[in-house]
Each structure stands twice: as C-alpha cells, then as structure tokens.
Amino acid sequence: MKVGNIQLPGMSSLLLWGLIWEIVGRSGLTFFVPPLSEVIATLFSVIGTPAFLTALSETAYAFFLGVFFAIVIGVPVGILMGKNRLADELLLPWVNIFLSAPLTALVPVLMVLFGFGMKSIIITTTLFAIWIIILNARAGVKQINRSLVDMAKSFLATPWDAFFKIYIWAALPEILGGIRIGVIRAVKGVIIGQLLISIVGFGALFELYSSNFLMGHFWAVLIVLFAMAFAVSELLAYLERRVSYYAATR
C-alpha cells in the first residue's frame, strides 16, 4: 500500500483498527468493548500478577510438550511414509482423514481415557499439530532429488547416515513448514483443550473474567495471547526463510 511516495509497512493498518476500537470503546456503544487505552492499561497491570503467570506457565507447559510429541513422532513417521511405499499406502488415508476431521469431537474420548487433567490437554495439542507435520515431512522426502539418494548409495552410505546426513536435511524446508503450521494449530488445540477438558491456564482466566464481566481483563489477556501466537508463527516463518535458500537450489 502506497500513500503518495511512502510505502506503508505491512501491518500498519492495525494502528488504524486500534484507533477505531478506541473510538467505539469511548462512544460506549457496547459494554463488551471497552476503549483500547483502558485495555492496554489493564494489560500492564495484569501481566505481572500470579494468576496470569500461572496461566502462562500451565499453557506453555502443555503447549511445548504437545508440540514436542507431535514433532518427535510426526517427523519420523512422515519420513517413513515418504520412503516406504507400503507404509505410505497404509497410513496416508488415515492421516488425511485426521488432518481434516473435527478433532474437537475426539476430546471427550481423551477425557474419559486419560482423565480431566494436563495429560488430555497435551494429547489434544499433539493431535491438532501432528497430522500436518507428518504430511509435510512426507512431501519433503518425496521431493528429494533422486541423484542425492543415488549419490549416498554410490558412496555406500549406511541407512543411518543416509537418514541423518541426507533425508532430514534435504526435507528440512518442508519439515519446518509443517512444523510452523502444526505449531499454529497446536496453539488453537491447547486453548480448545483448556476450554473443554479442565478449566486451567488461559481457559480458566477467560472463564473467570467473562463470568465477572471484567471486559478489560478479558481483552487484555486475549491480546497477549494473540500476540504470542502471532510471534511464534512469525518466528517459525523466519526460520523457514533462513533455510529456504537451499530449497530453491535443490
């Protein structure tokens, strides 16, 4: 977007939206939207409180463990599917189904199987993230240049060496892309888990604030959460760009 000769930076319209928010808030049009300035003031007062820090640490714990399992299981499974036709044909239909299935419907199953605690939330997070990670790792392996594979063979690479020195690296841009999308899904999964399974973490804060009609608090925490989710996804996009130089030259 250009105004005259000045290139407006990408996300600058958010400032305009903030301004609109402020005006709507001040006009007192609706109780649910307090002025942005008030929300931001609340934000700084909320951010250091024990309640907020507990919610943050509980959420972060479930999120990181969930993502960890999704990566540690998803990447090798995806690579296996890319390498082995039989495994691919057996698993691919199910991966595709679970990728687009309404995973929220599975949450009650997790609740009865694993209880109403952290364990179920972590598994929910993993379930949200893992399928796209598998699919991307698979796609990454499938596009590996044939000659790289032949090269490894002609130098008598062991399967171990071929895996750790070639496949992982050659598929890295796709794997990272999958992890980025998976992480975005995991953020959604962890919040959905907290809302449905047990009221902990940010889920608990949202319930608390909305039942006490603390709109300023509600929006403040929401902004923090959205900002963190956005920052995580941008960070991963940045990492992905760092390796994309060789995605083009493969």
């Binding site: 407006l8 996300m11 319209s13 649910f32 044909e89 199910w94 687009s100 299935a101 419907a105 604030y209």
Partner: protein, 253 residues
C-alpha cells in the same frame, strides 16, 4: 477389479478397526468399547432416528456458518486480492485471526449473544473464515500476469478478466481454502455444542458420557468424523464438476 491401492485401503481399514476391536476386548480401559459394540450403537441410533434428529440440530449452525463464511470469505478475499488499499486495510486482521486461537472468544460470544444459534453460527464463522479469505486473496493476487495480459490483449473487459481469468486460475487455491475452512467449521460446530450448550451430536456425546454409555459416545464421534470426510469429498466432486481442468492429475517423475 481389485487394484493394489484399493486392496491396501481395505487392508489398512481392516488393520485399524481390527486394532480398535482388539483394544476394546482386552480392554485397554473401561471406557473403551469394541469396534463392533460401537457400530451396533451406531446402527441402533440410525434406525431409531436419534442420529437424524441430532444432525438436524448440529447441521443448522454448521451449514449456515459455512455458507456465510464461503460467500463472505471469498468476496472479501477477492477484494483484498484486487485492491492494494483493501489489502492494506483488511489483510492484517485475517492474518492475526488465522494465527490466533479464536476459541478463546467463545465465553465472550456467549455473553454477547447468549447460548442460542447465533453464538454457534458465530463460532463456525470465526473458525472457518480466515483461511478462506487468505487463500482467496493470495490466489487472486498471484494470478499469473501473463494470463491477465493475454486477456487484455484480446480486449476482455475488467469483469471478464475477473470472471474468466482470475477466478478460474485462483480456483484450486480457493477450493483448498474452502476445504481447510470447512474442516475448521466442523471443529467450531462441535466445539460450540460441547462448550456452549449440548445440542445435536454434542448432546449425544455429552449425555452418553455422563451415563457411561460409551458405545453410543464413540458411535456419535465416529459418525461426525465420517460426516466431515463425506462433506469434504462432496466439495471435491463439486470442484471437479465446476472446474474440470483443476484435476491435472499427478505429476510423476
């Protein structure tokens, strides 16, 4: 004729359902019914009509929400893709929405719109719309310049360029956005039935859980996943029907 792919599909289905059956017979947990029990419950609910009543309830917010998201999402996406000014104004909102866990808004929606249909439609929309908008806009923005120039050189009008060049060329990405959006819409519909008020399939799930009728609970979950898969397959057939050329087949090496 049984080709290798169909044979393997059958085999992998057998393996998964077999594993379910065995796990249910051990049983791995008191709350894990066998596959056969679950299917019996599914058949029972189908024949006594429970399931149809439930889906009549569930599909209402889902279909309304998906329709709104599709129409509104594609329109907004088109505008964003065509106008740099609109892009600057609207894109950031949807980019943030796409990355953010919008489920957190549910308590607020319930406060604002109550526990009725409106809230549920809203949940479906906020889940489904961002990806539809973003896919549409990026597809429109990235229409190959040579195609548009070709159109102009043959004296196509602006509307013709949009309807005959930009939209068809963007259609594969638009449809993949729709696919993602619809599956997010399903997630939202079930989420709202489990979180806001138990109705429809969400009600079957919650109720049978509370009375420990696990086969019915698994059957209901099975049916909603099946429905989502069928819905997405339907969408694929629609795409193939509308834009035959999108099905370019696989590029093999």
């Amino acid at each position: 004729m049984l080709t290798r792919p169909t044979l393997l599909k059958i085999l992998s289905t057998l393996i998964l359902f077999g594993a379910w059956e065995i796990a249910g017979r051990i049983p791995v947990s008191y709350a894990f019914p066998t596959f056969i029990e679950s299917m019996q419950a599914l058949a029972r609910m189908t024949f006594d009509g429970t399931l149809f009543v439930a889906y009549g309830e569930t599909l209402k917010p889902l279909v309304i929400g998906i329709l709104i998201s599709t129409v509104l999402g594609i329109t907004i996406g088109l505008f964003i893709g065509l106008s740099g000014w609109f892009d600057w104004l609207m894109s950031p909102i949807f980019i943030v929405m796409q990355a953010a866990p919008l489920a957190a808004l549910i308590p607020l929606l319930v406060m604002a719109y109550g526990i009725g249909l409106t809230s549920k439609v809203f949940v479906v929309c906020i889940m489904a719309m961002p990806v539809i908008v973003l896919n549409t806009s990026s597809a429109v923005r990235n229409t190959p310049g040579s195609l548009k120039e070709m159109g102009r050189s043959y004296l196509a009008s602006d509307t013709e360029i949009i309807t005959k060049i930009i939209i068809p060329s963007a259609s594969p990405l638009i449809f993949s956005g729709l696919r993602l959006g619809i599956s997010a819409g399903f997630i939202g519909a079930i989420l709202s039935e489990l979180k806001i008020t138990p109705t429809g399939v969400g009600d079957i799930i919650t109720f049978s859980r509370s009375i420990a009728d696990y086969p019915s609970m698994y059957a209901a979950i099975f049916s909603i996943i099946l429905l989502a898969v069928l819905f997405l397959n339907l969408l694929e057939s629609i795409e193939n029907y509308l834009f035959e050329g999108n099905n370019r087949g696989y590029v093999s090496d």
